[in-house]
């Protein structure tokens, strides 16, 4: 009752306060109250279920659904077993009626390629000096855990993206396959906007490492190596990821999800596969009589929780490096009482605000848990990627190799280790900077990405990013902000303070209402709405505070079942006592010095020899 009343007050305060000032312009305490209030309002109005049919219920045989995460994410919620499982629909963060896709003309208005050329094309690399490239790799690592629309539709006529005059795009024609439509619709979907399905589990369950099917999970445990028994460990090849023999391209490393692969993903997957095996080794000490399956699944539970913790209390605060941003995210985990009090006394209150979400009561806030299209849209962060990488020695910072993004992508990520050892690759990613999320900072390599060079088939990922949001009915920037309870821009000056950007937006779009969500969020970087020391926009932040909490609050293994009885005593402590730096130190002890002076492991590490 008290918590409901508090929520109601916070929600009202948040609504009223933004008529005066944006949340981060207030002093610390009211700013924090406003952020909490925004979350209350978003939970109430912006969690939308798109399912129109009852979800099925196929209980896996011989599987401890209470104590283990299933491969496909089912039985996390015991009352609605398919909730959050792979193959379930994406939900929405805006009203369903706002998600009808545009007409064919409007879909290409203005041309996504024009937007790419004029507003996204990188002229000069704009770095984020206070972050390292691991921060860029980490978010892709996480996104691969949470969502994928799967392969595009090979049968439907592809979209044809108009080319601006004078564009020298290879072949003079740009096409992009359509998103795979929902194959399981019913009469209840008639006249409703199209829906799409998440091919990954929506839960924060490490499915980028473990896969979202039983078959994939078995594959990463054995790697199809001859004579490799299915042990509790993830199959590694001398501490490195084995090669994926089923991949289309030779030399591709194996992981639960190994699409769009590059060196950043390679090092993180390798580290957390090693971490899984380290957890197994620890659990064997106390539970040597348990089966290999038991040890595997318990280690997975612990590994997934550790990644969730790192994301919540390290990665996100690194990108939201203001007192309010840090408090908001660390508060999600430990509550307003903070880490020290939590570690000393445990939960002091049932309230998630006081003692954090992990261990609090599960709550879906009126809509079954699912990743959303809008969440997917605000996580288009390709501008974080640099075009060039310098790999240096961790012992003396000597330049070992300088290569382009494409050279360390796909099989190139593995090939790199032939020339630069794993520790040096990791050190280099820890010391270099990612790109800033601003206009005109989209990597050139991704704007002409070789999909099938022999057929002269390339894609402009910047144009495709724009197209995808439109195709999937994500509202454009102004409507999107209004839908999430933020102020709606009426002029280009409301989006950005930068006059040259205002002019460029006007030239491409003509009217404010047409500005795409991605472009608007990037343009916000130079505006009064941009929270200080934030790596992303206020607009994206609104969705983050909603969904970051929800990933924990809806998940039984982070809510009611976040307890030693489920995780084991050792496993529970493993999560409490470790962070990203501990993982790096455990598996790459020679890098311990490089991180010794860094407050956050996603901030630049110390340069060797300085």
């Amino acid at each position: 009752m008290f918590e409901r009343l508090l929520d109601s007050l916070l929600g009202r305060f948040a609504r009223l306060s933004q008529r005066v000032l944006v949340w981060h312009a207030w002093p610390f305490i009211p700013a924090l109250a406003i952020v909490l209030g925004h979350r209350v309002n978003l939970r109430r109005h912006n969690l939308i279920n798109t399912e129109t049919a009852e979800l099925g219920d196929e209980r896996p045989e011989g599987f401890d659904i209470i104590g283990w995460r299933t491969a496909d994410g089912s039985y996390n919620d015991l009352a609605e077993p398919r909730m959050g499982a792979s193959g379930v629909r994406f939900g929405r963060n805006v009203a369903i009626r706002e998600t009808y896709p545009p007409s064919a003309t409007e879909l290409m208005e203005p041309s996504p390629r024009l937007v790419s050329e004029k507003l996204l094309k990188r002229h000069e690399f704009v770095p984020v000096p206070h972050l390292n490239i691991l921060a860029a790799g980490w978010i892709q690592f996480m996104v691969h855990d949470w969502l994928s629309h799967g392969p595009n539709d090979p049968d439907a006529d592809p979209h044809e993206i108009p080319l601006p005059q004078g564009d020298d795009w290879p072949g003079g024609k740009m096409t992009a396959r359509r998103t795979m439509p929902d194959q399981e619709t019913s009469d209840a979907d008639v006249n409703r906007p199209p829906t799409y399905r998440n091919t990954e589990t929506s839960w924060w369950d490490g499915s980028q490492i473990y896969g979202s099917t039983e078959e994939r999970l078995r594959y990463i445990r054995t790697a199809n190596l001859k004579g490799q028994p299915k042990t509790a460990e993830i199959a590694l090849d001398n501490g490195m990821l084995p090669l994926d023999k089923k991949a289309k391209r030779d030399g591709q490393e194996l992981a639960g999800v190994n699409g769009n692969w590059w060196t950043g993903l390679s090092v993180l997957h390798t580290l957390f596969a090693r971490e899984h095996n380290a957890i197994v080794a620890r659990l064997r000490i106390d539970h040597g009589d348990e089966s290999e399956d038991w040890l595997f699944h318990k280690a997975r539970l612990v590994n997934a929780a550790l990644m969730a913790k790192i994301h919540t209390v390290e990665w996100t605060p690194a990108l939201m490096d203001s007192p309010e941003g840090r408090m908001a995210m660390r508060g999600n985990y430990w509550g307003l009482m903070g880490e020290t009090v939590f570690n000393a006394f445990g939960r002091l209150s049932e309230s998630e605000v006081v003692s954090g979400i992990p261990g609090s009561a599960q709550d879906h806030h009126g809509a079954p848990y699912a990743m959303t299209e809008e969440f997917s849209a605000v996580y288009r962060l390709h501008s974080l990627m640099p075009d060039q990488f310098q790999f240096r020695s961790h012992s003396d910072n000597t330049l070992l190799r300088e290569v382009g993004l494409v050279d360390v992508a796909g099989p190139g990520a593995r090939a790199l280790y032939d020339e630069v050892n794993f520790d040096d690759v990791l050190y280099s990613l820890g010391t270099e900077h990612p790109g800033a999320l601003v206009l005109n900072n989209f990597p050139e390599a991704l704007r002409k990405l070789d999909k099938k060079v022999e057929s002269n088939l390339f894609i402009d990922l910047a144009a495709v990013d724009i197209l995808r949001d439109r195709e999937r009915g994500v509202p454009r920037y102004a409507a999107f902000r209004e839908s999430i309870g933020a102020t709606r821009p009426e002029t280009f000056a409301d989006i950005t303070d930068d006059q040259s950007w205002q002019a460029a937006l006007k030239e491409v779009y003509g009217t404010v209402d047409k500005v795409d969500l991605l472009v608007g969020t990037l343009a916000e970087a130079k505006s009064k709405n941009q929270p200080p020391r934030f790596g992303f926009s206020d607009t994206a932040f609104r969705i983050f505070i909603l969904m970051a909490s929800r990933r924990l609050k809806s998940d039984r293994f982070f809510a009611d079942d976040f307890r030693p009885e489920i995780y084991t005593e050792a496993g529970f402590r493993w999560v409490a006592e470790n962070g990203f730096a501990d993982v790096v130190r455990r598996h790459c002890p020679e890098l311990a010095d490089a991180m010794s002076d860094t407050r956050n492991p996603f901030f630049p590490w110390q340069i060797a020899g300085t």
Binding site: N49, I96, R97, Y100, P102, R192, D363, G366
Partner: protein, 289 residues
């Protein structure tokens, strides 16, 4: 999730805007429309107000007839037949479409009242007085201000409004309900459609049936009163517990016409398909200029 507000002697209310809970509670056997002035103070006030506002000169409107009342079932069957899609005055639909396009003309309330009234009587005519009467009843039902409620009682505004609507509807309870109560949902749907039409982007992307589904407005709240002790998804009810199903919020969020009209419950609105078809026709007509 449903909220159960139970304060001894003062209130015993369950409120929910969760679609699944509404579907379940709407069919709960223990919950009906027996709005008797009993139980805690606020329950008594609300029950009395609902019953008074929905009883026009001793004629109960369909929306307060009990589940087992044979007259309710007969009336529902009759109304379902009358509200056949297409049973509307085409000229009126053109005027409504013009309103949606933003063309100045008669108020939407009068047009909506008239198009509904003519399902019952082809000569039904709405005017400023009938629309004002419908608004007075709606204000009374929605009001949370006890002083205003008292003033309305003293002034006799509600009985006067009921009398005016009864006269216009020639005493037909279905017509009185349509033109006095349900009409407000249709008016809100048309207002939403006007906003939708003003948005060029949405105008180009929506088919008529999609537009109808996008704008449909459910009643703000559907009330039920507990007749006996029972465990429900919203908590344990006892005689006099009032349950407020916030169907508008729930149906808006789920964009679910069936939920808006409680189409899967015993109290389903017999005009569901007529309203959806009418709205689609208005959108179509608006585009046929």
């Amino acid at each position: 999730m449903a909220r159960h507000i139970r304060i001894p002697f003062l209130a015993d209310l369950i409120l929910t805007d969760d679609p699944d809970e509404i579907r379940e509670l709407a069919n709960q056997v223990a919950l009906d429309r027996g709005f008797r002035a009993r139980g805690p103070l606020i329950n008594r006030i609300l029950a009395r107000r609902i019953k008074a506002a929905l009883t026009f000169e001793r004629t109960q409107l369909p929306s307060v007839q009990m589940r087992g009342d044979p007259q309710r079932q007969q009336a529902s069957d009759r109304l379902s037949k009358m509200f056949a899609p297409g049973n509307w005055d085409s000229e009126l639909v053109k005027l409504i479409a013009a309103h949606v396009r933003g063309t100045p003309g008669r108020p939407a309330g009068e047009l909506a009242q008239e198009v509904m009234g003519r399902v019952f009587d082809s000569d039904y005519t709405a005017n400023a007085d009938t629309w004002a009467a419908a608004q007075a009843i709606d204000e009374h039902l929605q009001s949370r201000n006890p002083i205003m409620a008292l003033l309305r009682k003293i002034s006799g505004a509600v009985p006067r409004a009921q009398s005016a609507l009864r006269q216009a509807a020639s005493g037909d309870p279905g017509a009185m309900h349509g033109t006095g109560i349900a009409v407000h949902n249709l008016v809100l749907s048309l207002e939403r459609m006007q906003t939708l039409w003003a948005n060029e982007s949405m105008r180009s992307r929506l088919a008529p049936e999609e537009a109808a589904l996008s704008v449909i407005a459910a009643p703000r709240t559907v009330m039920r009163a507990a007749a006996e002790h029972e465990d429900t998804i919203g908590g344990r009810v006892r005689p006099a517990t009032l349950v407020a199903l916030n169907t508008r919020a729930a149906a808006d969020k789920a964009m679910d016409a069936d939920l808006a009209f409680l189409g899967s419950s015993w109290s389903r609105c017999p005009a569901q398909h007529w309203v959806m078809a009418l709205l689609a026709e208005v959108w179509r007509e608006a585009g046929d200029v």
